[in-house]
Each structure stands twice: as structure tokens, then as C-alpha cells.
Amino acid sequence: MEKIKREEDAILFEPVERTGRSFYLTLSILIIVILWAVFAYQFQYREGLGVTGLARPIFWGVYITNFVFFIGISHAGTLISAILRLAKAEWRRSITRSAEVITVLVLFFGVGNILMDLGRPDRMLNIIKYSQFQSPLLWDVSSITVYLTASSIYLYLPLIPDIALLRDRNGKRRWFYRALALGWKGTERQHRLLEKAISFMAILVIPVAVSVHTVVSFVFAMTIQPMWHSAIFGPYFVAGAIFSGIAALIIAMNIIRKVYHLEEYLRPVHFNHLGILLLVMTLLWFYFTFTEYLTTYYGGEPIHMTIFWMKFTGRFAPYFWGMFLFCFVIPLPILSFKKTRTPLGTLIASISVIIGMWLERYVIVVPTLTNPRLPNEMVIYFPTWIEWSMFAGCVSFFILLYMIFTKLFPIVSIWEVREGREKSMIEVQERIKTYLPGIGVE
């Protein structure tokens, strides 16, 4: 048995070592989309933001929606992997890496969307040169920077032993792996240090991750605009972020599993467990949404109610009810039953959640701006091809980077899987002994 397993680990090295035609095909399609988005952006840069559908008073649109959305997705990884690691959930071993990568990569697109949204991107360094820390936008900048650094380290640390493995396999790009492996030899001391560092980072990233999305919500909540100025926004956003993050992770795992034939590593049980997590988040999301809108409704302030009704029955009803459909109505039954918590079932639920969460961000940003406090002319916002192109470009670029990552590094943590095989059985037994009465060794 041992022998077969050893051979089967080889499949984890396969993507790094061998590249098929379909990879290049996908790559070129993605690159075309990205180039198209680059073209769209340079058009926007040259002409001004007038090429978007934005106008007064709807000063923010898809870019800001995407910003919140991408930052939300980034909660997938680090937070989940950190919690699972700290909880010593053994089933985490084959999924942590793919989760962490999502975090690091998607953060760039969150930040990127803010930059795309700037009227004068050439002056973006003013944010650093003349920072005004009273502005929630600056809080975002700081917390995202910290989060990016922390989650990059958190991704990198568990990567070191695997890089060393690659270095030692005499494959391609040895110089590259040699530089990154930082002289990992797998000694006892190194292992001890690494474990320590990983668990330290795991504890660190959790508050950072929570703060990031809280601060993102503060961008809205700190203004006095109706239906933004809400104390619940912080937790609401964090819950939403974890929600969309898990969904993104499930989608990514499904794809990796199919493309790289990792059925052995990413088993239905993983999807089942993640599905339960997603179910919890669905209910939590519903709870927050319900609270938020119920509070508004009972307050009944006219300025809030205009927006409220606009979402419930007015122009934004399709978006609002779409959000409700995708975030709640579709995923809830799928995730509620063990029978449907299959890889496919969770995939459908996750895609639905991702669409729903994007709509949620849109429904937060746009309707409030459409109805400013002072009477204003009716302006209808709809994103132009530029904004859609950039959205497509961001998604494609993210997929591209993700793909490239899988080509450079194993997407399932090899050493952790091996460690699990070698040590965990005993460790778990030992551990259970420590918390259950009656079977203790004493």
C-alpha cells in the first residue's frame, strides 16, 4: 500500500513537469481576453472615465463592486486554511494550498479595480505621499497591504518544503527553485521552525483578514449615505466575504480536480465538509441580510425607504431578487442534503453563490448612489463594454495567474499530505486521548 501511494504522489508533480496542449489553448484564450482588457483600459486612460457608464450621482459602479467582490473572495483562502489548520482539521491537508493561492492572487485584482476606478491613476502615489489617515480609503490601503504581505508569507512558508522537493527532482528551472527553497534540507530543526512560523502566521492572518473586510465595509459605512451608514456593515461584509470565498474555493478545487485528475486527493468528503461550511455561511448571510433590511424597514426613514423600495420593487428589483435567488434560494436546498453535497452539487451551489455575491455588492453600491439625499435627475447606470471588458480581463488574468502557479508549484501540498500519512494517524489518536475521558493513558 505504501508503495502505491508513493507512486501516486507523482501525479502532484505532473502539472509542474509536463504541460499539455489544452493548457496552451486555455492560456492563449485568456491572454486574448486580457489583451482586450488592456486595450479597453488604455482607451479609458486616454479618454477619461467618461467611457464608463458612470455619471453624477452614480459615481461608483462596477469597479467598486468588483473591488469589494474580489477582496471578498480573497477571504477564501487564508482565513479558511488558517482556521482549519488551527482547528487541526485533518481533511485540510490537500486543500489549504489552493485556497491560499486564491487569496494572494485575487487581492491584486481587488486593488487593481480601485486603481482602474481612479480618475487620475498617474497621481496614485499621492496616496502614499500625502496620506490622510482619516480617510477609510487609507485604512483599506494599509490593511490590504498588511493582508497581502501576511497571506503571501502564509502561502510561502508551507511552500518551502515542496519547493525543496522540486529542486531535488532535477527538473526544469532548478535555479529558480534553488533560490526560493532557502536552503531547506528538511532537518528536524527546520521542521520545528516552520511549524512554529506557520501556526504563528495562521493566528495572525485571521484578525487581519477580518479587519480587511471590515475596513472595506467602512468605506461605505463611514459616509452618511442612506443604507450605507450602518453599524452592521462590518460583520455583514466579513460574512459575505467568507461566503463568497468558500464558494470560490469549491469552484477552484473542482476545476483542479478535474483538470489534474486529483480525485484521490480532493475527495467527495472534502466537498461535503466545505459544503457544510458554505451552508452555515448561507444561513449567516441570510441572517445579516434580513437584519439589515428589517432594521431599515422598521426605521422607515423616507430617504432610506426610497432605496429600500427601489431594491424590493423598483428598478433594482431584478438585481436584488437575483441576489436573493443566487445567494439563498438555489444553494440552500443543494447544501442541505448530504445526497446533493457532492462535488457537482457544491459546484453548482458555489457558482450560484459567486453570482449572487457579485450582485449583492452591486446592490449595495449602486442603488444608494442612484438616490442621493437631494432631489436629483434620474440617472440610469449601466456598465459599458469597457467595464465589462475589464471585469472579464480581471477574471481571466486571475485564472491565468492561477494556472501559472499550478505550473510552477504543486497545487496540493505534498509534504503536508505525506506528513498526514506518516504522522497524523498517531497524532490524532494521541490528541483524541487528551480530550476524551475514559481512554486517556493517564
Binding site: G48, I127, Y130, S135, V219, T223, I224, R373, L374
Partner: protein
């Protein structure tokens, strides 16, 4: 220290919009054509805001000229990440266009929607360029702009008064909108001076401010219609 403020008497106001056009001419505000206007991209630093209440035939329409309120507690300045908008010592909410990165956070934070964004580079036909006001800078695309209480006039007035060796008189510094108002419905001056017209009017029984409950403490006062 001065604290500049404005009073608009709605009883005298005729809703003629001279203030709007005077402001456009004074401040080199970009020409926004029909297509862009239809998208809601008009730039009017001061504009008439209509409140339509009731139903025919018992309908009351109020048209309220709305410049920047120059709040004492401006919600917009707090959120600017680069100090491009701030409250200056004399109570003017400044907008430094050259510092602005165009994130439009202030525009969304302002409850009075007084801030405008340059969606495109402002352009004029060559025949008209020479007629621009040389005392006011031209904004570029991608920056936020708004009413400045014609602050450039204060610079010139103060310099003139100083050169003539006298104090700044109330009539030295008047924004373009106030200067042009045909029915004399707009007043401008120092709210800190208890005897100035504006500060006396701001204490009048008819005086109110827009959305006082938000606690923004605007320095633009209105005098309500009627007795």
C-alpha cells in the same frame, strides 16, 4: 478670522438661474454637450434643486439654489485620502484639483451632491478659448471640482485691499453668483462678524439650512418663502 457664508432668500429668488450661468462663466466650467448632459454629467457648481410636493392642483414646487454648502463639519473632507479637499481656516471647503486622484470618494460622501467629476478632458472650441477666465485654473479630466465661493476673488480682493492699506470690506469679495443675482436674493459675507448682513440674516426667524439634522453645519443659509 473670517468665516465666509452665504444667505439665499428664497422669497426674493426668482429661479432665473443667473447664478448658474454666472458661475459657469466665472469658473471655466467645461461645456457639456447634449449627449453627456443626458447621461447626467452636467457640471453646475450651483444649481436649482426642485422639491415637488403634493399633487395637482395642490402642488407646491420649491426651487432651491444649491451651491457647495461649505459645511463646518464637511463629510467630504474626512474621506479624502490625499488632502485634496479640506476645510480651510476661513471656512471654505477647498478642492485642490491638482492633488486630486479622482477616486470620487468625496462625491459619494457629500450628502448634498455638490461635487462634480470631470469625466473627460474639458474642451472648448478654439474660437472660445481666449474668453476663459484667466484667474481660475482649468481642470483636467479625472478630477473632482466644486464651488469654491469664488475663492480666487478673495485672493485678488485681499491683495487689493492690502495694497491700498485698508481692511477687507464686505463688498470687496463677492462670489460671481451673488454679484449677478438680479433680485438681490443672495447675500455673502463674514458670519463671524455679528453685524454683517449675512450673520444677521442667518439668525433671522425664516433662516434654515439644508439637512440640518445631519450635523454638517452648512454655511449656506436659506430664508424661507412667505411672511
Amino acid at each position: 478670522m473670517h468665516r465666509w457664508g452665504m444667505v439665499i432668500d428664497l422669497d426674493k429668488c426668482t429661479a432665473c438661474q443667473t447664478c448658474v450661468v454666472a458661475c459657469l462663466a466665472e469658473n471655466n466650467i467645461a461645456l457639456i454637450g447634449p449627449e453627456e448632459s443626458a447621461k447626467g454629467r452636467t457640471i453646475h457648481w450651483i444649481e436649482l434643486v426642485p422639491y415637488i410636493q403634493g399633487e395637482y392642483p395642490h402642488v407646491k414646487v420649491r426651487l432651491i439654489p444649491r451651491p457647495c454648502m461649505h459645511c463646518d463639519h464637511p463629510p467630504c473632507t474626512k474621506v479624502c485620502p490625499v488632502y485634496a479637499t479640506y476645510l480651510n481656516e476661513e471656512g471654505i471647503v477647498a478642492q485642490i484639483n491638482y492633488r486630486c486622484i479622482g477616486c470620487r470618494y468625496c462625491t459619494t460622501a457629500c450628502p448634498y451632491t455638490v461635487k462634480y467629476f470631470n469625466w473627460y478632458e474639458p474642451r472648448w472650441p478654439d474660437e472660445m478659448r481666449g474668453a476663459l477666465n484667466r484667474d481660475v485654473s482649468i481642470r483636467t479630466k479625472g478630477v473632482v471640482e466644486k464651488c469654491t465661493f469664488c475663492h480666487h476673488r478673495l485672493l485678488k480682493a485681499r491683495e487689493k485691499a492690502k495694497a491700498e492699506g485698508r481692511d477687507l470690506l464686505p463688498e470687496d469679495y463677492v462670489p460671481a453668483c451673488v454679484e449677478a443675482c438680479p433680485s438681490g436674493a443672495m447675500y455673502f459675507g463674514d458670519l463671524n462678524d455679528p453685524f454683517s448682513t449675512v450673520s444677521q440674516l442667518s439668525r433671522e426667524r425664516r433662516a434654515f439650512r439644508l439637512m440640518e439634522d445631519l450635523g454638517t453645519e452648512p454655511k449656506v443659509y436659506y430664508l424661507s418663502e412667505g411672511m
